[in-house]
Amino acid sequence: MIVLGIETSTPQTSVALGTEQETLGKVSLAGAARQEFVTPVLEQLLTWTGLELGQVGGIAVGVGPGLFTGLRVGIETAKSLAQVLSIPIVGITSLDALAFSVRHTHKLIVAVIDGRRGETFYAVYRALPGGVVRGSDYEVATPDHLCAELEILPGELLAVGNGAILYRDQLAELGSRLEFASSIRAHPEAAALVELAVPRFLREDYDRLYDVTPMYLRRSDAEIAWDRRERGAGA
């Protein structure tokens, strides 16, 4: 089964095609958010691999937490394709994908994504044979708060993600028991989404199309305090 992965949670835009055995093709554009390239990159990948869109049997999409603009483009592209092609879709969090990419460790894995505005999105994982298991909720926190949370975790830690790199100096306060993963692991990869999603496709554990939405961790259901606008409307 061929699975298409689309990951746009961070300034890296990543698209991949793969099966349960291997990655067939992948392109990741790092540096600056370039979500408008998702579709052109997919077209290129299909050309290079000689595959047809109709051969894709499932779509794995990164649902964040991460950057809103990128997530909306990535998720809407994935959902549109799933609908048009009538194929199943699976949403995977950016933090799960990050942790999965460094799973060959005995340390606790702390996946950290830059949430902008001085905040990070993070979760803590433990490696198991074949994957990772999440041991915390998905959280949003300032680097200081994250440090305090990590302080109380026992043992050795491995920090991965662009948030870990951005706040490296603050996190380094935890001392030598915290190791930083390589910067080539800083962004979740679409190829990792494909690898994570394949078992779910095989056991038909799909997401419903309309349930695939960006993961927002910040409290955002509050209404805007519109006293001025209401006053203006009455004037």
Binding site: F68, R116, Y216, D221, E223, I224, R228, A235
Partner: protein, 167 residues
């Protein structure tokens, strides 16, 4: 710190925007407050002109965000039609434009907590009848303090030219 001006025509309001533009740098945020028709977009047109934006600057009330390229990139946002904090977050204000962009937010006072602490607040008031506008400019945060004296002088010069400088 507070600068108060009075303008008599939309073009004079644009001229004030043009002066503000010369003081703007990358990542600056300007909040524009004032009732409908107070001249927020008019002032932004002046800022855009001052930043070398060649495109016509129109109200973003219905598009929510308009982006322009100039000496600095301009992200012009209007949150008037939004109801929830989530709607604002969906705009991805942190992610608009490149590193050299300025963010101009109409009705931004309602969503202050979502905007950078360092910002310029421009408040426009109208009597609802004439073309006269009162413009109050207030700095928030550290970065404007360093620029304040020069801004005051530049606006005073404009104000004299407009014969409307009131403070």
């Amino acid at each position: 710190m507070r600068i108060e001006l009075r303008t008599e025509t939309p073009e004079q309001t644009r001229e004030v925007g043009g002066v503000l533009a010369t003081f703007l740098g990358p990542r600056d945020t300007v909040i524009l407050t004032g009732d409908l028709g107070a001249g927020k977009t008019t002032l932004v047109q002046g800022i855009g002109r001052g930043l070398g934006v060649e495109e016509h600057v129109a109200s973003p009330t219905f598009t929510l965000v308009r982006e322009y390229a100039g000496r600095l990139d301009v992200a012009h946002v209007d949150v008037y039609r939004l109801e929830r904090i989530q709607d604002v977050m969906d705009l991805g204000l942190d992610e608009l434009g490149g590193p050299d962009r300025v963010l101009l937010v109409e009705w931004g006072d309602a969503i202050e907590e979502l905007l950078p602490g360092d910002r310029l607040v421009v408040e426009l008031t109208t009597d609802g009848v004439s073309e006269t506008r009162r413009i109050a400019i207030v700095p928030q945060g550290r970065s404007w303090a360093a620029r304040w004296e020069r801004l005051e002088q530049a606006l005073a010069a404009t104000g004299d030219a407009l014969e409307g400088f009131a403070g």
